[in-house]
């Protein structure tokens, strides 16, 4: 494929090859590309390269794919095999994740967690008697998590706030220039979307029921601004099931929808499926995302880190809820948490009803303003402890 076809057909063919390699370049990108090449000298390979890169790429992740396709199409290099570049293909299919097993030599973290007797020493949601559970259900029903707010684009007249110059001027005109009334205005607020991602793998199963109950309360309070997704070996969206008024029916419907209760975890890969299918399209965009997981990641943690980075860029704030973080002496060393750590705004425990209320306090606080993007690990850990005090107050 050494011969270069400088006609429009050749360039469109190049764009098609790009799409094949998994890049999202729609017709208007291609159109922009064709418009751009009119302005540059096509014989100059470097100009052609830049005209293509500037118009067809929209993300740093597109760049390696673009470079490979460009080399193949215009420089006669070998096109990388589809196996390497077909990440979109893999993404499309990964809704039903293929069952890749853990490495034989790898220790089984789930077994470690289950065998960790220390968990049982804690009075948390995981070890309550049947009677206490029943009591807890009633308490959940009484929760009224106010939807978090964000500042909106528009102002609205209000009793408090800054003077509204426009309305004041109109009032003055009516009263012949006498400032009898000084209208004020304030920023309107709107509900900020909340996404609850609940890890339902084996190690989290003691908490799954309580967390889904909590999610139900949140969904009921603000159905249009809440999304609930369970993550395990697969990703399942249960927002619709949880909109049921009756908690028992809602939970039963959700349980029926989730095929992988108490299975393994592939946090990174399921997170990728969520981001591809829902997150990018809008569910996670500028939302407060709450991830309930203990961070026992079986898969490669680099996938998790990568997906957490994506999530963090889409979301307004990311809160990680780890039931084990409620234990004394806990430090975030599990491979999953360690990998995701840089992309988490805040870590809370969420092992008890009170800590779930504390979580909500943080969700509402972070919805208004997210902390600085450069918070260091130590800073975040510090602010978590402060948060506990704040939540208790």
């Amino acid at each position: 494929m050494g011969g270069v076809d400088h006609t429009v057909g050749g360039l469109v063919g190049f764009a098609r090859a790009l799409r094949h390699s998994g890049m999202m370049c729609g017709p208007n990108r291609v159109q922009a590309f064709l418009a751009a090449v009119e302005h540059v000298d096509l014989a100059d390979r470097s100009r052609l390269y830049w005209a293509g890169r500037l118009t067809l790429c929209a993300d740093p992740e597109d760049l390696p794919r673009f470079d490979a396709a460009f080399d193949y199409w215009f420089r006669g290099a070998d096109m990388p095999s589809r196996g390497q570049t077909s990440s979109t293909e893999r993404r499309a299919r990964s809704a039903a994740l293929s069952s890749r097993d853990t490495e034989p030599g790898e220790p089984e973290p789930l077994a470690t967690a289950a065998g960790d007797a220390e968990v049982l020493h804690n009075r948390d949601l995981a070890d309550l008697s049947a009677e206490e559970r029943e009591q807890l259900r009633r308490l959940f029903a009484e929760l009224e998590p106010e939807p978090p707010q964000r500042p909106a684009f528009r102002h609205r007249s209000s009793r408090r706030g800054q003077l509204d110059p426009r309305a004041t001027m109109r009032a003055l005109l009516r009263t012949g220039g006498e400032p009898i009334r000084l209208p004020r205005r304030n920023r309107t607020t709107r509900a900020r979307r909340v996404v609850l991602l609940i890890d339902v793998s084996g190690s989290m199963s003691p908490y799954a029921d309580a967390l889904l109950r909590f999610a139900h309360v949140v969904v009921r309070r603000s159905p249009t601004h809440t999304e609930v997704v369970t993550l395990g070996t697969r990703m399942t969206r249960v927002s619709r099931q949880l909109r049921h008024r009756d908690p028992e029916q809602a939970l039963a419907a959700a349980a029926k929808a989730v095929p992988d209760f108490s299975g393994g975890t592939r946090l990174g890969e399921t997170l990728r499926v969520f981001l591809d299918r829902w997150g990018r399209r809008g569910a996670a965009r500028r939302a407060v995302v709450v991830l309930f997981s203990d961070g026992w990641e079986r898969g490669d943690t680099s996938v998790l880190a990568e997906q957490m980075q994506r999530l963090r860029r889409l979301a307004h704030a990311v809160v990680w809820v780890n039931p084990h973080a409620g234990r004394a002496g806990y430090s975030p060393v599990q491979s999953g948490i360690a990998a995701a750590w840089p992309y988490v705004d805040h870590l809370v425990a969420g092992h008890s009803l009170r800590s779930l209320q504390e979580l909500w306090w943080w969700v509402r606080r972070l919805a208004r303003n997210r902390g600085s993007g450069w918070a260091t690990t130590a800073d975040q850990w510090g602010s978590r402890r402060e948060g506990e005090r704040g939540g208790a107050a």
């Binding site: 100009r47 830049w50 964000r150 110059p165």
Partner: protein, 290 residues
Amino acid sequence: MESPAMESPEGVAAALDGTGYLPDDGIATAAFLARRMRRPLLCEGEPGTGKTALAQALASALDLRLIRLQCHEGIDAAQALYDWDFPRQLLHLRTLEAASGGTLNAEEAESSLYTSRFLLARPLLRALQESPCVLLVDEIDRADDEFEAFLLEMLSEYAVSIPEFGVVEAPEPPLVVLTSNRTREVHDALKRRCLYHWLEHPGLEREVAILRRRLPGLDARLAEQVADAVQRMRRMELLKPPGVAEALDWAQALLALGTGDLDTEVAARTLGAVLKYREDADRARAAGIV
């Protein structure tokens, strides 16, 4: 119609070079195409790769005014587009009242209030009024989704309508540069409207050239030492890898100290100019870079 500097990517490169901004092929082509195709240019990249500086250099290379809009969360139309000058309107109304001797015609008074005299143009409106100019929309990733949508509308028409005043249209579209640090994803609709350029940190050679261009007193050896150390720092896992700006700061600090050679002792004393986190400084020291 175009200034000769904008006739070709080489022309742009030369013009930018003249202002002290050393562009690579990509930047020159991006700026050239943005001007030619009348499309905004969206620059993304790590902090310190020269996104904002590009807009400034373009303005001075093309001898155009630079109008800058710094984005932040919750930015609204009154901060970005226009507002009415309320105190002056009030004074004007008082004057009219006094002059009329109590026979103020409310309708006439109102129409005299909403004229360009009392219109406070904020960056976006000013860019439309004063075009041709370079409009820099800095750190668009900090603004809200609604603001992006609003910007998209303005950038596709290069016009805005003000209810009491009418439509303001740019005689010639301004050259728009948007920058983003990718703290969040910019919306696809806005990306589609723009040319997209991902800026990388410059390579060793170009960084040395940039240092020497911007700091004429810097000798070649020291420039190379600084650039080399900075390049190695960028390959480490740092919280905040140094950008070109930090390299420049560092070189300037060394110049101020009158150092001719970047040895361990001098480097340790001036490390604060280039690394802004204690953890990063520790890591650089442990790796033996300084």
